[in-house]
C-alpha cells in the first residue's frame, strides 16, 4: 500500500493520502472533508453476516417453503423434501445435483467461511485454513440459492392457479439467505485472510512476497 494522490472533492486541494490503518479515516487538512476510509472490521463484518447466514440457512432448510391446499388436501415441502421427492420419483441424479446446489454447496461455503473467519482472528492461522478457503471459493459458483428462490416463485405462481398457496417460513428464510450470501462475498477481502495465514514454508504473514 503506497500513498495515493487525490484532489479534495470539496476544496480541490491536491494532496497525498497515506495508507490507512483498519478503521482509520482520511480527512482533507484544509476543509476536513472525509476523503476515504478503510473497513474497520474486515473480518468482523463477514463473520457477522456468516453467522446470520448460518442461522437463516438452518431455518430455511427445516421449515416448510410453502403450503398448498386444494380440494381439502394439504401439502407442504421443505428444500430437502423437494430433492427427496425427485429421488423417490426416480430422478436420483437430479435429486443429488439439486441437493448439492442448494444445500451442500451453501452449507459448505457458510461452514468453511465461519471456520476461516473465526480462525484468523488470532493470526497466524494454521495452513489448512487456507485449504478451507479454497474449498469455500470453489463452492461459490455452485451455491444457487437465488436461482432456487426464483424457481420456487415461478412454481408458486404456476401452482397458485389450481390451489391456494401460502408461503411458509422457509421461503422467507431463503429470501434472506439470498441477500446474506452475496453480502458475505462482497464484504469479504481474501487478502485479509491470506495475510493472516501461515505460509507453507513456515514463515508468518510478516514476511510478504511481492
Amino acid at each position: 500500500m503506497t500513498h495515493e494522490t487525490v484532489a479534495c472533492p470539496a476544496c480541490d486541494l491536491l494532496q497525498q493520502v497515506p495508507p490507512l490503518p483498519p478503521g482509520g479515516k482520511a480527512h482533507c487538512p484544509r476543509c476536513d472533508e472525509t476523503l476515504g476510509s478503510r473497513s474497520a472490521d474486515p473480518l468482523d463484518r463477514p463473520l457477522a453476516l456468516t453467522v446470520a447466514a448460518a442461522i437463516v440457512f438452518i431455518i430455511a432448510n427445516t421449515q416448510s417453503l410453502m403450503g398448498l391446499s386444494a380440494v381439502g388436501r394439504q401439502a407442504s415441502t421443505t428444500i430437502i423434501g423437494g430433492a427427496y421427492e425427485m429421488w423417490v420419483q426416480g430422478q436420483a441424479l437430479t435429486a443429488m445435483v439439486v441437493a448439492f446446489c442448494v444445500v451442500i454447496a451453501p452449507a459448505t461455503y457458510i461452514a468453511f467461511m465461519l471456520t476461516v473467519l473465526l480462525a484468523v482472528r488470532r493470526p497466524p492461522a494454521p495452513r489448512w485454513i487456507g485449504e478451507l478457503l479454497r474449498w469455500a471459493d470453489f463452492m461459490k459458483p455452485w451455491s444457487m440459492s437465488e436461482v432456487m428462490m426464483l424457481g420456487i416463485l415461478v412454481a408458486l405462481v404456476k401452482i397458485a392457479e389450481l390451489a391456494s398457496v401460502s408461503p411458509g417460513i422457509g421461503m422467507y428464510a431463503v429470501g434472506l439467505l439470498v441477500i446474506l450470501l452475496p453480502a458475505i462475498m462482497v464484504n469479504f477481502d481474501p487478502a485479509e485472510v491470506w495475510n493472516r495465514v501461515e505460509w507453507t514454508d513456515g514463515t508468518s504473514s510478516t514476511a510478504i512476497a511481492e
Binding site: T5, P29, A40
Partner: protein, 557 residues
C-alpha cells in the same frame, strides 16, 4: 503509482485514527437472525402436541406426511410415519397431534380409517375419494391419558350425538344387524347399536339408539316393530303389502310409533325396555282385556281356517280363531274338527251406539249367569249359529261367521261346559274345485277324436256319392230339371265347403284349437241334409230314371 507533480511535496491528508474497537453495528444482523430462530423454535415447542401410535390391521390409503387425523372434519393431527409393527401382522401409524387436541388422547378414544364405504346405514366417506383417506377420531370419556391405541376396523356407530338408548326384546334377530336403521313415520330416527343373547337364552336383547329430536316421541306406550323387507299378508281381508323403504328392504330395519289408543305420556327414560313385535299390525293391536273362549265343533273340513282368522258376529269382526284341532267322539270314534275361538266383546262394544251402550255393557261386563242367559236366548230363540265362510276364493281362506238361522234345528248344548260349545251349521261354500274338475272331466270324456273320424268318414263317402252323381249327371246332356240343377248347385257348394271342411278338420276338430263343437255340428247337419236330399234324389232317379227326361210326374212327386 505516479510521483507527485511539482517540486513541492503535496500536503498529506490527516488520518483519523480508528476509535476503540467497539462492537460493529453489523452484529445486529446475526443477533436478529438468532432471535427469530429462537422464536420459531420456541413457538414450535410450545404448540407441539403429543405423538401417538395407532396400530391398524391395514393402513389403506394412509401416507406418512400426508394423511390427517380429523375430528368433526377439523384436522387435529397428521401422520408422520407408517411402518410394519414388530409382529408384522399389523401396521403402526405414528401421528403428531396438535396441542389443542392433545387433551383428547385418552384411554377409550377411538381411531379408524375413513374411506369410501357402503354399509347397512348407507354410503359414507365419499368425500375421501377426493381428499384422500384420513384417520377418523372419536373422543373417549376416560381421564387416563394414553399414547398407544389400537385402531378399529370399522367406524364406530354412534358419535357423540345427542339421543337416548333403549333395549328391545325380540324372539329372533331376523334380518336385523348392527347399524340397521330405525324409522319413525318413515324418517330415520336412529339405528341398532348392539345385540346380544338374552341371559336366559330365550330371546335377543337389542340395544337401539334413537337420536334427538325423535327420542322424545318414545313414550312408555310406544311400540317397536320389525319393519324389514316387505310385509305381504294375504288374509280374509285381502292382500296387504307394506314396506318402510329401500334400506329397510335390503338391510332390515325397525320402526316405532305410539298406537292410536295409547294414552299420551312423557318420553320414556333412557334404557327403557320394550318388546319388538314382528310387524306393524301386531304391534298396533289393541290389547283386549276381556276375552271369552268358545268351542265350535264342525262336521266338515276346516281346511283353510287358520289361527288368527277372523270371527264375525252378524258381519262385524268380533274375535278370532285361536286354535284349530281335532276331537274324537268317544262313543262313535268319529273325528271332528274342533275350533277354539276367542271373542272380544270390547270390539262389539265399540260399534254399539251410545244409546245402546248401557244394554251392551251388560252383555260384556255382566256376571257369568246373566251372560249365559243372554247367550242362551240368542242361540235358542233367535238361532245364532256359527258357520264357516269363504273369505278368499283365491286362497281358500275361511273364517267363522255367526249369524241368525231361524230355521235351524234346536241344538244340544251343555250350558255348563267351559269353554262353552256353540252350535254350528253346515257351510255353503261351493266346492268350486270339485265343480271345475267335474267340467274338465266331462270335457275330457267327450270322444272328440272319434267324432272327428266319423265326420271324416261321412265326408269321404259323401264325396264318393257326389262323384258318382257327377258322373251320372255328365251322361245327361239333355235339359236338366230345375230342381235337379239347383240341387246340383247346392251339392257342388256343399262339396266345396266339405272339401274345405276336410282340410280344416285336422286343425279345427281333432287338433288343439278345435272350434266349439256346436259350429261343427251345425255344419255337419247342413251337409247331412244336403247329402240326404241328394240320396233321395238319386234313389228316385234310380227308381224313376225317366224323370230325368220327363221330370217328376204328378204321381211320383
Amino acid at each position: 503509482m505516479p510521483e507527485p507533480t511539482g517540486a513541492d511535496p503535496l500536503p498529506q491528508a490527516t488520518v483519523e485514527p480508528p476509535k476503540r474497537t467497539r462492537l460493529s453495528v453489523i452484529w445486529i444482523i446475526p443477533i436478529l437472525a438468532a432471535v427469530v430462530a429462537i422464536g420459531i423454535a420456541v413457538q414450535r415447542i410450545l404448540t407441539e402436541g403429543p405423538t401417538i401410535t395407532v396400530v391398524f390391521k391395514s393402513a389403506e390409503g394412509i401416507e406418512a406426511g400426508k394423511t390427517f387425523v380429523k375430528y368433526k372434519d377439523v384436522t387435529i393431527g397428521h401422520v408422520t410415519k407408517v411402518e410394519l409393527a414388530d409382529t408384522y401382522g399389523n401396521v403402526e401409524v405414528t401421528a403428531k397431534i396438535s396441542k389443542r387436541a392433545g387433551a383428547l388422547m385418552v384411554e377409550d378414544a377411538k381411531f379408524w380409517v375413513v374411506e369410501p364405504r357402503v354399509t347397512l346405514s348407507g354410503i359414507s366417506g365419499l368425500g375421501t375419494l377426493l381428499s384422500g383417506n384420513y384417520v377418523g377420531f372419536q373422543p373417549g370419556k376416560s381421564d387416563k391419558k394414553q399414547t398407544r391405541f389400537t385402531g378399529l376396523e370399522v367406524a364406530p356407530i354412534i358419535t357423540d350425538q345427542p339421543g337416548r338408548r333403549f333395549v328391545l326384546k325380540a324372539k329372533t334377530l331376523g334380518s336385523l344387524g348392527i347399524g340397521s336403521p330405525i324409522y319413525y313415520r318413515q324418517l330415520q330416527a336412529g339405528q341398532i347399536e348392539a345385540y346380544a343373547l338374552a341371559p336366559d337364552g330365550k330371546g335377543i336383547d337389542i340395544t337401539v339408539f334413537v337420536a334427538t329430536p325423535y327420542d322424545k316421541f318414545v313414550t312408555p306406550e310406544t311400540r317397536f316393530w320389525n319393519a324389514s323387507g316387505i310385509d305381504v299378508s294375504v288374509g280374509a281381508g285381502g292382500v296387504n303389502v307394506r314396506t318402510e323403504g329401500l334400506v329397510a328392504l335390503l338391510a332390515g330395519g325397525l320402526a316405532f310409533d305410539a298406537p292410536s289408543f295409547a294414552a299420551p305420556a312423557g318420553p320414556a327414560a333412557a334404557g327403557a325396555v320394550f318388546t319388538l313385535y314382528s310387524d306393524q299390525a301386531t304391534a298396533m293391536k289393541q290389547p283386549e282385556a276381556i276375552a271369552r273362549v268358545y268351542v265350535l265343533r264342525f262336521s266338515e273340513s276346516v281346511l283353510g281356517l287358520s289361527v288368527g282368522a277372523p270371527v264375525t258376529l252378524l258381519g262385524i269382526p268380533a274375535g278370532e280363531v285361536t286354535q284349530v284341532g281335532l276331537s274324537v267322539d268317544p262313543a262313535t270314534m268319529a273325528l271332528h274338527p274342533r275350533v277354539l275361538i276367542t271373542f272380544f266383546p270390547e270390539r262389539i262394544l265399540a260399534r254399539v251406539t251410545a244409546r245402546d251402550q248401557a244394554t251392551a255393557k251388560v252383555m260384556t261386563e255382566g256376571s257369568d249367569k246373566v251372560r249365559l242367559q243372554l247367550i242362551r236366548r240368542i242361540v235358542e230363540e233367535q238361532g245364532l249359529r256359527g258357520q264357516l265362510k269363504s273369505g278368499n276364493l283365491l286362497t281358500g281362506q275361511l273364517f267363522v261367521a255367526f249369524n241368525y238361522f231361524p230355521g235351524a234345528p234346536k241344538p244340544k248344548i251343555d250350558w255348563t261346559q267351559d269353554p262353552l260349545e256353540l252350535p254350528v251349521v253346515l257351510s255353503t261354500i261351493p266346492d268350486l274345485e270339485a265343480k271345475l274338475s267335474g267340467i274338465l272331466a266331462k270335457l275330457d270324456s267327450l270322444p272328440l277324436e272319434a267324432i272327428g273320424r266319423e265326420v271324416q268318414d261321412d265326408l269321404t263317402s259323401l264325396k264318393r256319392t257326389l262323384e258318382d252323381t257327377s258322373k251320372l249327371l255328365s251322361r245327361i246332356d239333355a235339359e236338366l230339371v230345375d230342381p235337379l240343377k239347383t240341387t246340383l248347385e247346392e251339392t257342388r257348394r256343399a262339396i266345396a265347403s266339405a272339401d274345405r271342411m276336410l282340410t280344416n278338420t285336422d286343425a279345427t276338430l281333432v287338433g288343439k284349437d278345435a272350434p266349439v263343437q256346436q259350429d261343427l255340428r251345425d255344419a255337419l247337419q247342413e251337409m247331412v241334409l244336403a247329402a240326404r236330399s241328394l240320396r233321395v234324389l238319386t234313389d228316385y232317379l234310380e227308381r224313376h230314371p225317366e224323370s230325368l227326361i220327363r221330370g217328376k210326374t204328378q204321381e211320383n212327386k
